[in-house]
Symmetry: C2
Subunit: 308 residues, 2 copies
């Protein structure tokens, strides 16, 4: 039996080495160099090429290499009986909450404006936003969203949370699906940490921007396809949105000709908010591989209907 | 009896209004328009012109408008019998810890590098510094230093503290005056929150930079004169220091021709890390004014010999 590692635009060797560190007896193949596809029962995938699965007749489980599984769910060639799982490790949530906290602090402390001033040797005080003046609204209250909301709250921010089902978190006002408008009306800094599903695709659009409390800011750290990019440009031009911090984009890498690059009101990072650590992930992958072989219940199994 | 407000390059009217909000019966004069100097017993000063005090024969107390009192201590024309106090309000320490936390997070998450990349439309991952790889060293463990150290620790950072006298803070390793070298050898990101005294002036020099654990970073949020500016430029050029975040400068406003402006390895903000809120400060000023009139012990009195 063996594990198959499949990715495009990502070197999987560090993951192979990390898995072998956990258990040197595991057989691992890295796509496309699999010599014995019939032995593959467990695959680890990140932006895999579609339609490859028919070469692996004994595949039982595909694990995403991250918390997101939209890249798996959109591949209709994955047989129904194959179970899907994802990787939820503490450091992913910790990194994500660091990234969001950094972005929120830079917003309230006018970091981007001071940086622009520095380029022109301008010494000028810009009134900071007070913490109790701006409310942060976190969309998506899974592992990443909850951890991020708690981090913001413990740093003195007023935080709203929005999720499909009701969540109880100390100090955080939570809203459910039916109360999206109310949530938006009471949130200035919107942090998107939703899973990408047919229901959430394109959710960050002009209608949503209009509903946000002003001044309004967008932090998108989930998936590029949550955002209607033209709507953001329009909203920035119309000053409906003051600034946006984006780590994810509809097309990645963001094309050199993309209009986002040159905009001062957009901060761009290259999908680095939360980066999977091979050593940490390997422990979880090996655990789930052994569970799969022995027929035990998997950790972090994905509900295909729900979409995460 | 009356309060005198004295400042250069700062509008004191908001402070007068805030004091009158607390107690509308207090007489207040704003320098240089004092009509009855003989009635002034309490002065509030921020970068006052020296030698003005002889016009106020009945002055008993001078309060700094901030936490720093170096601008008062360097004025030898203040009579010995005049008591000095300073303003220590919770929001100053909270703002300061926000500023430092923002700077530290931006350092570990490579924010400046990503910003430079954005200007050239470059999509490139830069390995983030792990939190357990870089230790933050806070110099100065007064109100601002302790609050900042605690904020960093509660956000998952490893924190060292250095102070004249031993401080006990949960989770933070503290060093005293005699162990400066040891403190520096174990700190990567140096946060300066010392008071400015003859002993600490110029403390951030090449010798200190050499002692820091590498990679090394400097965050100066105390006073410009703590830093030997030429030494910092040399240390950045020699890569002894990777990046510096500076909120205070030897000359403020920082002159347009100053070499710091154009350096990518220096982040400049215009002395905004911690800004006094008139309403919050007024309560404390009025309290101390009334204590002064009735001969009670003052809050936050300054020990001139110690320098803070």
């Amino acid at each position: 039996m063996s594990i198959l590692l499949v990715a495009q635009r990502r070197d999987m060797k560090p993951f192979r080495d990390a898995i072998l560190n956990v258990d040197p007896n595991i057989d691992i193949e890295i796509w496309p160099n699999s010599t014995n596809p019939g032995r593959v029962q467990f695959a680890v995938a990140w932006h895999h090429p579609q339609q490859i699965w028919k070469s692996y007749p004994n595949l039982k489980v595909i694990s995403s290499l991250g918390a997101g599984v939209d890249h798996l769910l959109k591949d209709s060639s994955i047989p129904e009986h194959v179970q899907l799982t994802r990787v939820v490790v503490p450091s992913l949530a910790d990194q994500m909450s660091d990234y969001v906290l950094t972005a929120v602090l830079n917003i309230i402390r006018n970091s981007e404006i001071y940086r622009d001033q520095q380029q022109e040797s301008i010494w000028k005080n810009q009134p900071a936003h007070l913490k109790d003046e701006l409310t942060v609204g976190v969309m998506g209250m899974g592992e990443l969203g909850s951890t991020t909301a708690k981090r913001l709250y413990s740093n003195g921010f007023t935080v709203n949370g929005w999720a499909q089902s009701r969540k109880e978190l100390d100090g955080i006002s939570t809203f459910t699906a039916g109360n999206l408008g109310e949530f938006l009306n009471q949130s200035n800094i919107l942090v998107n940490l939703l899973p990408l599903t047919p229901q959430t695709e394109g959710i960050l659009d002009l209608d949503l921007f209009k509903e946000l409390k002003k001044p309004a800011f967008i932090i998108n750290v989930a998936r590029g396809k949550h955002l209607i990019e033209e709507d953001l440009v329009y909203a920035l031009d119309k000053e409906l949105i003051t600034h946006a911090v984006l780590d994810v984009f509809s097309t990645e890498p963001l094309p050199e000709s993309h209009p986002f690059w040159g905009r001062k009101k957009i901060t761009i990072t290259p999908h680095i908010a939360s980066v999977t650590d091979p050593d940490e992930v390997a422990v979880l992958l090996v655990e789930n591989y052994k569970r799969a072989l022995s027929g035990m219940e998997l950790l972090n199994e994905v509900n295909r209907k729900r979409g995460y």
